[in-house]
């Protein structure tokens, strides 16, 4: 028992230092990851939690568990949207032991990499424990504890241009694309799914079976750092006076156990950092997922779900960073003027009462086709298509729609599952996924990456990801 506890704590500590994501583009379970996160209609059992709770009824198992053993259910992803290994080597590999001197072509090349803003992200999710029970007449019920930690920093394109080329007279630099979001949240969710309709004739002569599901969540947040608004711009006049407008608002909140002390807060008598897997939360909230799944004939499944509808109220160790007003700097030797500009650009920090954030709410649509021992393809093949639309930009989410197709194929009993898919849009852009899984009857072990290109052409890849997990089923 001690070993299990130690493993659990280790896993959570690992996760606390990285970033987890869910929402429309974030990390999902290992099976979905192998299918390029194409899971809205194709997920099954406990792997459907957080995606479409009505899919709890899918699958043949009566009871299934997610436990840290034999393989913890863990998803990790990190990368940038601008820097591949090749680019990293070129720009950060040096020349004869010295930093590479960037000529104009190099600067153009670097600028192009950051076009539209350059984001760096890392996220991780871990499912600490989950259990579901399914009964034909009652439906399915599940309980799950899962952690998500995520971070995303978007370098504004203007900042890169400024750093490389300086401030050109007459040109306005806007920093609207700057973004910082990071959090660590824990969901305690209880889910229920049941059959809502079943008929040979079909509803509207189309849907033979309709399932519905809902997940209710209690959410704990351990830290949050996020920009709410960045609408800052600067301009350099013909006499080099810097003018512009600052409009920055950001919030933060930390669990008291993290021992974070703000510069402005001399009254904070924090006794240092003591992070642990069961820290007192910085914020609490609630949320729910609601989903429906409909079968069309024997082969097709369509799905619709709204996930993570809810709020977190952050109360502990909160601060706001506020910068607003007109920017004017025409005298570098004027310390008061310079301090004012710095405060407006980077925000003045001060204590804040509670504030509220949403969850990574998303709308998920999907369709899948199951080909079981068809004439053309041996074994079981599932093809799926997803459309995921994030409703906000919290970690794991993106308002940029994400489309994906995925497939899972198990040619025969002794051959593992092969999973693949490709995804376009969302945070990551284009991704090619690959995964495998072995099914040993009572336990299933899976391994996947949503960034197969990092394995095929690692030097060109901008992201790397890994998901693994095991599922007990009875």
């Amino acid at each position: 028992m001690k070993i299990i506890t130690s493993l659990l704590i280790s896993l959570m500590v690992i996760c606390s230092s990285s970033k987890a994501q869910y929402g429309s583009s974030g990390n999902l379970d290992v099976r979905s990851t192998g299918m390029a996160k194409t899971s809205n209609a194709a997920s099954r059992g406990l792997y459907s939690l957080g995606i479409n709770p009505s899919n709890l009824l899918s699958g043949i198992e009566t009871v299934d568990f997610l436990l840290p053993l034999p393989v913890p259910n863990l998803s990790l992803k990190t990368g940038t949207n601008f820097l591949s290994i090749n680019e990293l080597n070129y720009f950060f590999g040096g020349v004869d032991g010295e930093g590479r001197y960037l000529n104009d072509d190099d600067k153009d090349r670097l600028r192009n990499l950051f076009k539209g803003g350059g984001s760096v992200f890392a996220d991780a999710s871990v499912n600490l424990f989950a259990i579901s029970f399914k009964n034909e007449s009652f439906g399915a019920i599940a309980f799950s504890i899962s952690d998500y930690t995520a971070g995303k920093f978007v370098f504004p394109e203007a900042l890169v241009n400024l750093a490389l080329s300086g401030n050109t007279r007459g040109k306005t630099y806007t920093f609207d694309d700057e973004e910082i979001h990071s959090w660590w949240i824990r969901n305690y969710s209880i889910s229920y799914a049941r059959k809502l309709y079943e008929s040979e004739q079909g509803l509207f002569s189309l849907f033979n079976k309709i399932n519905g599901g809902i997940s209710l969540k209690i959410v704990q947040g351990f830290f949050y750092i996020g920009t709410e608004k960045v609408e800052t711009s600067i301009n350099t006049s013909n006499t080099n006076a810097i003018t512009g407008k600052a409009d920055l608002l950001a919030f933060s909140s930390f669990s008291p156990s993290m021992g974070v002390k703000y510069d402005f807060d001399s009254s904070n008598t924090s006794k240092g950092s003591h992070p642990n897997p069961f820290m007192s939360p910085a914020g609490t909230g609630w949320g729910f997922d609601l989903g429906f799944n409909a079968s069309i004939g024997e082969l097709w499944n369509v799905s619709i779900a709204a996930t993570d509808i809810g709020l977190i109220t952050w109360k502990e160790n909160t601060a706001e960073f506020l910068g607003s007003g007109d920017i004017f700097l025409d005298d570098l030797t004027n310390e008061a003027q310079w301090d004012t500009v710095k405060n407006k650009l980077f925000g003045e920090s001060r204590r804040r009462g509670s504030f509220t954030t949403g969850l990574a709410s998303a709308l998920r649509l999907g369709a899948s086709c199951s080909l079981l021992n068809s004439m053309l393809i041996p074994g079981d093949l599932i093809l799926a298509f997803d459309y995921n639309q994030g409703l906000n930009s919290y970690p794991g989410n993106s308002v940029i729609p994400r489309f994906s197709v995925g497939a899972e194929w198990k040619p025969c009993n002794w051959v593992p599952y092969f999973r693949t898919g490709l995804s376009v849009g969302g945070i990551d852009g284009f991704n090619l996924a690959f995964g495998m899984g072995i099914d040993m009857n009572v336990v299933e072990i899976n391994l996947a990456t949503s960034d197969l290109q990092a394995l095929i052409a690692p030097n060109s890849a901008e992201h790397i990801s890994l998901a693994l997990g095991s599922r007990w089923k009875f």
């Binding site: 290994i85 090749n86 990293l88 080597n89 720009f91 950060f92 590999g93 040096g94 032991g97 010295e98 930093g99 590479r100 001197y101 960037l102 190099d106 600067k107 750093a163 490389l164 080329s165 300086g166 401030n167 050109t168 007279r169 350099t236 006499t239 080099n240 006076a241 810097i242 700097l329 025409d330 005298d331 570098l332 030797t333 004027n334 002794w414 051959v415 593992p416 495998m436 072995i438 040993m440 391994l447 394995l455 095929i456 690692p458 030097n459």
Partner: protein, 522 residues
């Protein structure tokens, strides 16, 4: 299960092998590059009140905010005299003193008709001669009740032989005089002498002559007529300091000198005194002198009043503008001290401890003309070593300097940077036109009032290449040569355009430029 692993392991193995082909850099070395930063360096306006350190010597005038330049108050004490001298003598002859009378009275007129209440002799003689026409020896006693020493009245005893003369002089130095109570107050002009003779024959008599002379008093109370105490002179230095640099190059207007005199009586017993032919002489160390003189050519005779007598020299009544422009190192005051100048019939006390306190306060309104005043100063450049290294990260700089000058002074300056050993490195102010000095034109002025009517704009451009920036990082001293002048209407100093320096005069400096900075995060 066995078959599963047969398939799974080769795939995983292939992935891991392939992953080993990731070509990660051994060490992350950030790139380096040059960036052109357009920076606003300074944009400031300075009122004259920001530039001038106002104090008790320079402050704005209340009426029109023109600066007042004022000296410290120079004071010098001049003793009126080492002694008060009665130059003339008085004589009284043929005074018969007989032996019959026990008491006889002789009144000898003081010289120059002075009336004494009291006095202390610093010198003086009472001469007497006696003729004894008898055949007896006569004993003569001269008691002078008004003169005493250590409480003892002066008494002279002489023996005069028959048919012979006797004469002597009594030195009065150290003696005091007090008007005798027995002497009628109306006879203060006289020295009372009580002579008596003793002889064997009561009918004997002698004939006496008296003379007093060379009376000099250290203090005296009484009625003394108008009297000169002689010429006196006193000197005091003007501590010009750096102002000496302006000699012959600054021309002042509306200057003034408040010259005050006060008679300080040792016994607080003031009476009228006067200064005759007062002269204020400016003298430079090189020997050149300039007298402060009245425009109408009159000499200065001043009657000192009860408290403080004052005369104000201004540009209307004197040549004070020229005098102050002369910037003497030393001021000498000469005057003849006169007591009782109106020769009034008054009783007063005068001592050789009495003084006349002279006070001089120079003042000039900030109306001036400057003629190419050259100033050179060496300034230490205090930059820490870390900042010197940061300067080396700059590869070039192109600076634009805009001056708007609403001060009626044209300034040009040249800044030469030197190394630790004062070896010149380069001229910082050398502009793109090849000129070493940077000129800041004075504001345009109204030729009548000298007031600035519009600021003058000056643009300068300085380019620093990598070599100069390297030298800048190695600079430890700046030799700043400055030339300041006001507008000149001609070379004739008397025709120089005078300008007022006002609190509201201002100058603005706007500097901005491009700095090519080498970014090397490593």
């Amino acid at each position: 299960m066995k078959n599963i692993f047969k398939v799974l392991f080769p795939i995983i193995f292939a992935i891991l092998i392939h992953s080993g082909c990731v070509n990660l850099p051994d060490e992350i070395i950030p790139p380096q590059w040059d960036v052109d930063l357009n920076v606003p360096i300074i944009n400031r306006s300075y009122l004259m009140s920001d530039i001038i350190d106002e104090n008790q010597n320079i402050y704005p005038g209340a009426a029109d905010s023109i600066y007042i330049i004022e000296s410290d108050n120079y004071n010098v004490n001049s003793g009126i005299a080492s002694r008060i001298e009665i130059e003339n003598e008085s004589v009284m002859n043929d005074v018969v003193v007989d032996a019959k009378s026990d008491t006889q009275t002789v009144l000898i007129l003081f010289p120059e008709n002075i009336e004494l209440d009291s006095a202390v002799f610093s010198s003086g003689f009472l001469h007497y001669s006696v003729y004894n026409p008898t055949s007896d020896i006569v004993y003569l006693s001269l008691e002078i009740p008004g003169i005493s020493k250590n409480g003892s009245v002066l008494v002279v005893n002489r023996t005069v032989f028959p048919m012979s003369y006797d004469s002597s002089s009594q030195n009065l130095e150290g003696y005091k005089y007090n008007f005798p109570a027995s002497q009628p107050p109306s006879l203060k002009r006289y020295l009372l002498v009580n002579p008596t003779i003793t002889s064997s024959n009561k009918n004997d008599s002698v004939i006496c002559d008296f003379k007093n002379s060379n009376f000099q008093f250290s203090s005296v109370t009484g009625k003394i007529g108008r009297r000169s105490l002689g010429n006196f002179n006193e000197k005091f230095s003007l501590k010009l300091g750096d102002a000496i640099k302006y000699r012959d190059k600054i021309f002042l207007k509306e200057a003034s000198l408040d010259f005050s005199m006060k008679y300080a009586s040792y016994y607080n017993s003031f009476f009228k005194a006067g200064l005759k032919n007062l002269q204020v002489i400016g003298r430079r160390n090189g020997g050149q002198t300039l007298n402060l003189s009245m425009r109408d050519g009159t000499s200065l005779d001043i009657l000192l009043r009860a408290q403080k007598s004052e005369i104000v020299f201004n540009e209307l009544n004197s040549n004070i503008n020229e005098f102050l422009t002369f910037l003497p190192d030393e001021i000498e005051i000469t005057a003849e001290h006169i007591i009782n100048p109106d020769d009034e019939n008054l009783s007063f006390t005068i001592t050789n401890r009495d003084t006349i306190k002279y006070g001089a306060l120079f003042r000039s309104r900030g109306y001036l003309a400057l003629k190419n005043i050259a100033l050179t100063d060496t300034l230490e450049i205090k930059i820490d070593e870390g900042d010197r290294k940061s300067i080396l990260d700059s590869k070039a700089a192109d600076l634009t300097l805009n001056f708007e000058n609403a001060i009626p002074l044209t300034t040009s300056f040249k800044v030469v940077l030197t190394d630790k050993h004062f070896n010149p490195l380069f001229t910082l102010t050398r502009n793109s036109a090849g000129e070493d000095s940077m000129l800041i034109n004075g504001g345009e002025i109204d030729l009548i009032t000298g007031d600035v009517i519009s600021p003058a704009a000056t643009f300068q451009n300085i380019s620093l290449d990598a070599d100069k920036i390297r030298m800048l990082a190695n600079s430890y001293y700046a030799i700043v040569s400055t030339t300041i002048k006001t507008k000149e209407s001609s070379g004739d100093p008397s025709a120089l355009q005078m300008v007022p320096i006002k609190v509201s005069n201002w100058v603005s400096i706007k500097a901005y430029g491009m700095v090519r900075y080498h970014v090397n995060p490593d």
